[in-house]
Subunit: 246 residues, 2 copies
Amino acid sequence: MSKVISEKKLHDEGKVWVFNKDYIAEFVYGGIDGAITTFAVVAGAAGASADLTWVLIFGFANLIADGFSMSVGNFFSVKADRDNFEKHKAVEYWEVDNLREREVEEIREIYAAKGFEGELLEKVVEVITADKDIWVDTMMKEELEMTKDDKTPFKTAFATFASFSVIGIIPLLAYVFAALFDFATDNLFMMSSIATGIALMFVGYLKSIVTNTRWVKGVLETLLLGGLAAFLAYFVGEVLARYFLN
Amino acid sequence: MSKVISEKKLHDEGKVWVFNKDYIAEFVYGGIDGAITTFAVVAGAAGASADLTWVLIFGFANLIADGFSMSVGNFFSVKADRDNFEKHKAVEYWEVDNLREREVEEIREIYAAKGFEGELLEKVVEVITADKDIWVDTMMKEELEMTKDDKTPFKTAFATFASFSVIGIIPLLAYVFAALFDFATDNLFMMSSIATGIALMFVGYLKSIVTNTRWVKGVLETLLLGGLAAFLAYFVGEVLARYFLN
């Protein structure tokens, strides 16, 4: 855990810890999506009373394809956020060089709004605009309200992929074992549901850390989300199977 | 489009427009996930030469379950970010009341780092700490580097759900029509691939707006992502089908 504690500040007096939530957060949301995507296949199959073969084919097709696309998509979106920040920063530097007067006036307005006036305000503007980096930093935070996200796309994408695969394969495990050691049982769906439930509770617990909420809230929220999604999949599977297979 | 232009600022001189990316962004990422999830089922089925019935059963089971979980998950995570911001803000107010001296010193350090010194620095600290709201706002931006996100969870969740469903159903349409009007054709997968490709190109174009990049980049990136994911699903379907069905 220590690795994810933010350097910025520990709100210890306030009894709130600031985590660098980037990577646990990716793990949590990747894991939830992974488990729900494959469990949707399992539940849909159960609703349609489909053969174990189809659970494995569609389960793994979704696990691989969605895990891949989710993590690559995550890479692109995190990278895009960083690029967007840098792009606006570059624009601010451009403006400071080419529209100096207007940008000085903007700093004046920003600090007037903070309650500065008269000579003191002018002195403040002088100091801020004396250093181009501090000037631009002020514009980014006060005018655009943008702060740089220190997540790196590779790490967030990897965390997403790892959790999507590891958590996402859990709903399929009972079916994998049934196929490998071909033991026949009618309880595969039940086994899978229990395994998935435990996995979702674990991820829900991590989620409560990420979101600074009570663990009960995180666990129940996540369990309920997965349960409802599975119910929908089961229902769709059953209805469509009744329509097509009879 | 005008609705999504940020109130904060148009970087027009810099030839960069700042969009309020919240809702297009959700639409883009929801749409990509929707199309890829259902197209993974279609491609996996094609690889396994599975019957149209299974495409519809597992396609819709995933469309409904993932669309539901993704949008509800989005709701929780956006809400969590807002709550987290408010929680830290409350902590800062608590610290300003209960650890006044230390918080005054922190403001002094923040402005010393900006190049203020001596009497001017003291005057600045005085003005900032004279107004509790400005004081806390400064701590949030400068110390915690947190700015408030003006996204509302309901809107982001709805945008996610809408795009996930609307874009996500596209890969299934050819199979739906084939089932409804039962026309027999071997080209369903090809039709679905073309429809999905067009959908991904459209979403990729929107993505380039969200991420402020050239439209060619957004379109090709998204198309390639979907294509590779589908290839993986097809491959998995084919291998598992060969293993189980022969």
